[in-house]
């Protein structure tokens, strides 16, 4: 029995169902603990910012939510593409299950960004490249969900949604690199894989803990939703 056979075993909705439940339960617990730790570090350990005062603490939800909004879109498009290429129902179900949580985190990123922008930039909203491309991401999520809901036949809905999801992926690098490609009001990345972070270590710790909490929350919510979709018969 090779590992490859196990993968195909779990590609069946019926066999994936109990595994999804077990993983979701562990992720709910992990997300709660990490969020508690992240909020503690964010509010009680990280110091007040010299320039922005307490308003900067929005960073502990704004940045993780923005990361999740982009990451979830790529994962959603990946599963939609696998479903389109191999006609595997579970892959398309996963894409459908991820979309609402991705849309939620995109809205949270926009909302918290607006409330952070007002005290720091003097405006809730500007038609800046980063903000506009993130708004387009929200419309892509909403469009994906609306398109799937508008088509009765699940297989046709999966195919139509997959095309939209795959085309929309081009927006993700645009969001990420928008602060480098254009002159934007939005600041550049404070955390990068290629260089040292330009923020205090306690601030970084709080942000990473919240990012992990949101990540586990997203896995748990998506798996709980895919179990509902399986029960509903796709």
């Amino acid at each position: 029995m090779s590992t490859a056979i196990k993968w195909f075993w779990f590609a069946s909705p019926q066999t994936f169902f109990p595994l999804a439940g077990t993983i979701a339960r562990a992720c709910w617990i992990g997300a709660t603990l990490l969020a508690a730790a992240g909020l503690y570090v964010g509010f009680f350990v990280a110091p007040t910012d010299a320039q922005q005062g307490e308003a900067y603490r929005i960073i502990f939800i704004h940045v993780p939510a923005a990361w999740m909004s982009m990451f979830l879109y790529v994962v959603m498009a990946f599963w939609a593409a696998i479903g389109l290429a191999f006609n595997t129902r579970l892959s398309s179900m996963m894409a459908s299950a991820i979309a609402p949580t991705g849309a939620l985190f995109t809205f949270v990123a926009l909302w918290t960004g607006a409330l952070w922008g007002r005290p720091t930039w003097g405006a809730y909203w500007v038609w800046d490249a980063r903000l506009t491309s993130e708004l387009i991401l929200l419309f892509l999520y909403l469009g994906f969900m609306a398109l799937q809901a508008a088509i009765d036949d699940p297989r046709r809905a999966d195919r139509a949604g997959a095309v939209l999801a795959i085309v929309g992926v081009v927006n993700v690098p645009i969001i990420y690199y928008s602060v480098q490609w254009w002159n934007t009001l939005h600041q550049g990345a404070s955390v990068s894989l290629t260089r040292a972070p330009s923020m205090a270590s306690t601030m970084l710790t709080g942000m990473l803990l919240m990012a992990l909490a949101f990540w586990l929350y997203s896995i748990a919510a998506s798996l709980a939703r895919v179990r509902c979709i399986i029960r509903e018969g796709g």
């Binding site: 603490r57 939800i61 704004h62 952070w116 509902c228």
Partner: protein, 33 residues
């Protein structure tokens, strides 16, 4: 004044997460029956 922005951010974020959780739990209950 800055506190309004801070609590407006955290309040709406966690309210939305709880709404998603409540809707998910409702859907789980409905699909069980």
């Amino acid at each position: 004044m800055n506190h309004w922005y801070l609590w407006g951010s955290y309040g709406v974020t966690f309210a939305l997460l709880f709404v998603e959780l409540a809707l998910l739990m409702k859907r789980v209950r409905e699909t069980k029956t």
